[in-house]
């Protein structure tokens, strides 16, 4: 399906990541959005509030993030594509509803423009310390998809991808920006609508009497039904059977929740996306994502200038984590150096993936600024010895 031209601001723009993300959402067909302001994500909702009335949509600022994070789900069941946007404290408040979306298989997008944490932390400064929360913040077993853009252009492109993945897998997608990428302004090229591929909502082909709302085929993703058309489906956050009816048993739980995690885990290959820079001969394998992957590019240059065979592996989709490819690369490396704006989050996943194949070294940073590429270089030099 091609993008609805109404939402596509085709052309070359000079936009910050927050604004670009908003444009991506509009291009992806988001017409109803809810949010609550919080630095540094506010610009996303501000832009969407001014853009939606132009394209026949509605933005409502809700009374809080909890309301926003469930209003989007009401809108999605109503047929809309919808998202909400927040940062640290607001995202923490949304955790119950991330779980609801996962359990009810409601395709929607949560944008998190990360700032320094924990708690109120550093509202106006960058961080990448919500990465584990994105994956584990709600109670119970579930899987999400998370994406970490590193430029305004990617904020646009990958926002569309986020909506598409949400629809394809019927999962909440966490769009993991950060203050730095959100407030960074660069050229953003928005293609014409017919160059933008949109994943259509997967509606059932069955008539109401044959439709089982939560019965999935081999792709493990059940089709949805339109409302008001006699399907009369039931949606619940309780453990439910294929009809969507609550069933309080370990068997129902196993059938449902296992599928929910498996639809992502067993199809991870279709979802994973990463970039590699100079990894062919890399002896020191740098791993970084989001804005930090750009900082590390500089380290890479510096290292190569010094004759160190460094390479960079950048997960673009961070959850599910592209562990398999990483392990392959690590096997050829002397050391793996993980650079992230936190005191160790994705590095845990890297350690698991590498599984002793090479020593893993973290270059932590509490956030509030970006890494100094020279500092990172020092570590690269150390491990390269």
């Amino acid at each position: 399906m091609k993008a609805d031209p109404k939402g596509v601001l085709t052309g070359t723009h000079f936009l910050d990541g927050d604004h670009a993300c908003c444009e991506g959402a509009l291009a992806a067909g988001c017409r109803v959005a809810f949010g609550y302001p919080i630095t540094p994500s506010t610009e996303v909702v501000e832009r969407i509030a001014s853009r939606l009335p132009e394209v026949g949509g509605v933005f409502l600022q809700m009374e809080d993030e909890i309301a926003s994070s469930i209003a989007i789900q009401g809108a999605v069941w109503g047929g809309a594509r919808s998202m909400t946007v927040s940062s640290g404290p607001g995202i923490s408040l949304m955790m119950e509803h991330v779980g609801l979306a996962a359990m009810t298989e409601t395709p929607c997008v949560f944008v998190n423009v990360q700032r320094g944490g924990p708690s109120t932390g550093l509202p106006t400064l960058p961080g990448q310390a919500d990465m584990m929360q994105a994956r584990w913040g709600s109670h119970g077993d579930y899987e999400i998809i998370a994406i970490a853009p590193n430029s305004p252009q990617e904020c646009f492109d990958l926002a569309i991808h986020a909506f598409n993945l949400a629809e394809r897998f019927r999962v909440p997608v966490m769009f993991m920006m950060d203050e730095s990428v959100g407030h960074m302004t660069e050229k953003v090229v928005i293609p014409p609508p017919d160059a933008i591929e949109i994943e259509p909502r997967r509606f059932t082909q069955e008539p109401p009497e044959k439709y089982l709302p939560f019965a999935a085929g081999p792709d493990l993703v059940p089709p949805m039904a339109p409302i008001g058309k006699g399907y009369r489906f039931h949606v619940t956050g309780l453990t439910h059977d294929e009809r969507g009816y609550p069933v309080m048993s370990a068997e129902a739980q196993e059938k449902l929740v296992h599928r929910l995690v498996d639809k992502i885990r067993t199809r991870a290959d279709e979802i994973e996306r990463s970039q590699e820079f100079m990894t062919e001969d890399a002896e020191v394998l740098l791993v970084a994502y989001g804005i930090t992957s750009r900082v590390v590019q500089r380290t890479l240059q510096l290292a190569r200038q010094k004759g160190i065979k460094a390479g960079l592996f950048r997960p673009v989709v961070v959850w599910p984590f592209p562990g398999k490819r990483l392990r392959e690369l690590a096997r050829k490396a002397k050391a793996v150096v993980v650079v992230e704006l936190n005191y160790g989050q994705m590095v845990l996943e890297v350690e698991r993936a590498v599984c002793g194949a090479a020593p893993v070294r973290l270059v932590p940073h509490g956030g509030g600024a970006l890494h100094d590429p020279e500092q990172v270089l020092k570590v690269v030099e150390e491990v390269a010895r």
Binding site: F14, M184, T185, K187, V295
Partner: protein
Amino acid sequence: MKQRVELKIGGFGGQGVILAGMIMGRGAAIHDGLDATLTQSFGPEARGGACSAQVVLSPDRNLYPCVSHPDILVVMSQPAYDKFIGEVKPGALLLYEESLVKPEPLPPGVKAYGIPATQLAEELGRRMVLNIVMVGFLAALTDAVSLEAVKKALAESVPKGTEKLNLDAFQKGFEYGRKLVAQKK
């Protein structure tokens, strides 16, 4: 443009520092076909204190987005000068608002040019356009972004209805800069 240029613009919050950076970045990115990244120091600082816009300009894909050692520093307040002057590259270009900034101590090798931008802006009846005067001044003193491009970007970036005022402000700064260059030569 052959290589990466790092530009930093500093001042008080409310002086329009970000807009100045935006115009430069936009000019480069949209109209000069360069790669440009504008970043900003944001936050409570934006309510006073030293606030800044950083622009990285480069002929090819600029991956590393930060300005660590500006080639060009433009300052409109003393705190901004004090805070940022230590970062500049050897031989950097410094542009400053004369009545608000005393560029002391000046690191050796830095080329410093002052402009009474506040006064020039006040002559236009709007102190607010001080930042645009500085952009004009900047355009006169460097060719990191082409004059054409800056002007176009300026017109696109300011609120509708204020284009003339802003172009006048630009012109004032630009001319002042040209004169200065001519003098120095």
